[in-house]
């Protein structure tokens, strides 16, 4: 999602390089190398594990808080699922009497007991990874619904994000190196604009263009049901056809962020002394380019991990617009149906995705940045 609250995690928000520069260790004149002895490496491995443990504890604490918050909010949502179902049945032609009995049977298993008791039960079930039963799709586990939806979210999110990442990073390098040129400027402005425009605007424009003005692609849905699922041509073709517009929208929406982030990262790296030093040592253009690109892309990997986590739940507009059956749409629908369990579950999973992405991002950083890996400055 690219609304306001997540600005910080979106690529440009963290445009700068994550500071892993000087620390007290650099001050000393110690001529003895600080780490690369086996003991040091082992200690570093231990340290990474400890870091992971710390993250897990904090992550779990956060999950608990989020669970509690969502529980409280969700149990306070006005609008009774029974009423909604009742009216729906009436409209389907049931007699009021019939509808009333049917809904009573349907919601016979609405949570009962004091709010506190419900809360305790909810937490207990959570420990068994049991999110309860869906109310709007009675008899179906919330986890099943979420798993199905998640698989549909992953396709456009991963596809779109990776596409935009590749494109954005490539063009960002260009924009960073040709900062003062016309094309660099144009890239930066277009990046800012795309980064700034909300997803739904892009989604609606894309939809208007490719289905109304120039109808060449299906307007929505996941895949044509005619084809047998599996690794066969028609099925995959249909899958790709349907995913094109959502993926395109994702890619457009996040592309700008990558361009901006990469550009500023490249600009920072270009200002780093070691690049000039490498140039003065006569390193070839290709090596130089690799130095710039690798150092510049490093902070972006963390952002990538974070944004993947964020996008997980942020697909709401795109999924709504393109009728793509992912988590975002699931959440919207569950709210409409006042499906407490599903709502809570989706919200929780979305949040956990972000928390996990946070942890992953941090560990990823520890793995790809030798400064963290071998425990220099942290």
């Amino acid at each position: 999602m690219k609304l306001f609250a997540t600005r910080d995690a979106s690529p440009a928000g963290r445009g700068g390089r994550t500071g892993h520069t000087g620390s007290a260790d650099d001050v000393g004149t110690a001529d003895a190398p600080i780490a690369p002895d086996p003991a040091g490496r082992r200690a570093a491995g231990r340290a990474v594990r400890r870091r992971l443990a710390g993250h897990l504890v904090r992550g779990l604490a956060m999950i608990w808080v989020v669970t509690t918050i969502s529980f409280v909010i969700i149990r306070n949502i006005p609008g009774n699922p029974v009423l909604g179902q009742y009216e729906a049945l009436i409209e389907r032609g049931m007699s009021p009497d019939q509808a009333q009995r049917a809904t009573a049977a349907l919601y016979g298993f609405l949570p009962t007991g004091s709010l506190w008791q419900q809360y305790v039960d909810y937490l207990k079930a959570l420990l068994h990874l049991d999110l309860g039963q869906s109310l709007s799709t009675p008899g179906t586990e919330v986890t099943t619904l979420i798993a199905h939806a998640a698989s549909w979210t992953i396709l456009p999110v991963l596809g779109g994000t990776l596409l935009s990442f590749l494109l954005g990073v490539t063009l960002g390098v260009y924009a960073g190196i040709k900062r003062s040129g016309k094309l660099g400027d144009a890239l930066a402005i277009s990046g800012s604009l795309l980064h700034g425009v909300p997803q739904y605007v892009l989604g609606l424009l894309v939809l208007a263009i490719f289905t109304t003005l120039w109808p060449i692609l299906p307007a929505g849905g996941p895949v044509d049901v005619e084809f047998t699922p599996g690794l066969n041509g028609p099925y995959l073709a249909s899958l790709i056809q349907h995913a094109t517009l959502p993926v395109l929208t994702y890619a457009l929406a996040s592309y700008g962020g990558w361009v901006l982030a990469m550009k500023s990262s490249v600009a920072t790296v270009l200002g780093d002394d070691f690049i000039l030093a490498a140039e003065l040592r006569g390193l070839s253009r290709w090596v130089l380019f690799r130095y710039i690109a690798r150092n510049a892309i490093l902070p972006l990997f963390t952002i990538l991990a974070l944004s993947l986590g964020m996008l997980f739940g942020g697909a709401i507009f795109i999924e709504r617009i393109f009728n793509y059956p992912g988590l975002g749409l699931l959440l919207v629908n569950s709210i409409g149906a006042r499906d407490y369990a599903l709502m809570g579950g989706t919200f929780l999973v979305t949040t956990v995705a972000v928390i996990v992405a946070n942890i992953a991002a941090d560990l990823l950083y520890a793995v790809i940045d030798p400064r963290v890996r071998t425990g220099g400055a942290a």
Binding site: P78, G79, N80, P81, L83, G84, Q85, E87, A88, L89, I90, E91, R92, G93, S95, P96, D97, Q98, R101, A102, A104, A105, L106, G108, F109, Q133, T137, P138, G139, T140, T144, L145, H148, W152, T211, P215, I216, L217, P218, A219, G220, G221, P222, V223, D224, V225, E226, T228, P229, S238, H242, R320, N323, P325, L329, N333, I335, G336, A337, R338
Partner: protein, 575 residues
Amino acid sequence: GTTGNTSSSGAGGIYTTIDGSKQIDASAPINPFNPQGSTFMGYDAMSLGWPKNDLMNPDLFYPGLAGSWSVTPGQGEVVIHLRPQARWSDGKPVTSEDVRTSIGLAYTQGGSAYTVNSGAAGAAADITVVDAKTVKITQGSNRSNAFLRNVLSTVVVPAHVYGSLLPAGFWTTLKTAQGTGPAADKAKAVITGLAQKVIGFSPPADVSAGPFVLERINPGAALLKKNPYFYDAAKIVPDKVKVLNYTGNEQIWNYLVSGKLDNAPFTAVPAAVMARIKATKGNEIRKGYSPVAASLAFNQAHKPYDNVHVRRALAYLIDRGQLTRVASPEAGTPAVTTTGIHASAAKAWLGDGLAKLNPYKVDPAKATKELKAAGMVKRNGLWAMPDGKPWKVRLTVPAEFSDWVAAAKSIASQLNDHGIDATVTTSADYTLYLDELASGKLDIGFWLMALGPSPYNIYQRLYGSANGWSLLAGRLRHSPPGKDGNWMGGPEVVGGVNPGELTNRLNLATPEEQKRIVGTLAGLTNQQLPVIQLYDYVNTQFVNTTRYTGWPPAGSEALRLPAGVWMQLGMIEKK
């Protein structure tokens, strides 16, 4: 085959449609007892019969799995004769045992005919398997004229798939439950306790007695293939049916514009879109009777809507023709007046009586008179409450229903033109809206009404639980405004008439008596205006003639039924 309908399998081709009653949920079980279940009425889910859309008589049915039926006068006993050739898609015959099991399962869900509440009106007392193809169902002592139609609506599932859901001794338990006393209560609990298991039951594959059987489902669509064992298989033309999913009406419009759908049920459509739909090759519109109307409902517990003059004034100010043009130009006709009944049915029920009712034609002068009569005052060109406080008319509609939103905005604009400060507020969704309505938070809201053809169903919308009358254990009770969901807050007795009681009597009355009661209620409603009837919906079905023909004609009694039933009736033909 995603753009246009190019692919076809076999001679019959693929029939593409949408299910108007629910959105597809690919993870839902293939089980008709589940409200989200992946079964489709008329295609792979069958009931004993299919209701005809008659203006007045709710007991007219097309035969379904029941080839024929007989009923004793007073509906004491219904005998069902199953079609001899009916078979399940796995080849097993459809038997009386299937019906009995289905009824047993229906008991766990509760329902008018199959309820364990002793003494409830129209409850079945006994189910007897006469022979392999004949079942007899008798009604309890507290008779209701809805018994037959409730029985015929029974959805039948295969006993060899669902049978295991009913524990041994189920029927004995049921008998116990139908009695009274602690043993009965315990037995009731046992039966209702099965509800969840039944709803959640997920057969590994679809076993259907209908013309189709589910082949595959994904979040975007369901694919059904022809059931070779269907009793009238020869009548079924398409090889497959594709039921597309949708999240909003705009998707249906898109499908229609692209000519993808062979038919689509009633959908609200803006005029411009309708023009586009009509422009698409093969698209045609079949209009028919739809017993639904939209109305503006008042919360009479809120001032000044307790005053009938205020309600009447508003009725004189609202140009129903104009607002229908804005809100629902194709699928609505401006209400001739407020009767509580859909205009088409009103003619049948009321006959000449209809002409005698006040039509509430737009008349600002009369409105002013009514407002004055209510003690309202005009200040600086704006009407105010009798005590001089500003009068703000707040119209609330659920944001989901675009035609209601447009209608509400139109009403607000019209009222504004006449010096009444009106605004439109939306509720996030229908559920929330209903909740707000029920809890008495809203002054004026939109309300669906005239849900025929059963006259009880029609007037229950105005003089039922929303207005304070509820049936509890077979007895009618009236709750004061603000209690038990009574948000309309109308008087219990007006002009010596208790409309709730009259409405309830409709369930038991003979046709003649029904006519009399309906006449009384229509007059009362026209005078008292608990709601202002805005427009009557027109059942607007979309069909496409490029691939199939033989659609039910305009006004057909079958028009409200799913296309699967049309096929069973032998209507759809390959072009």
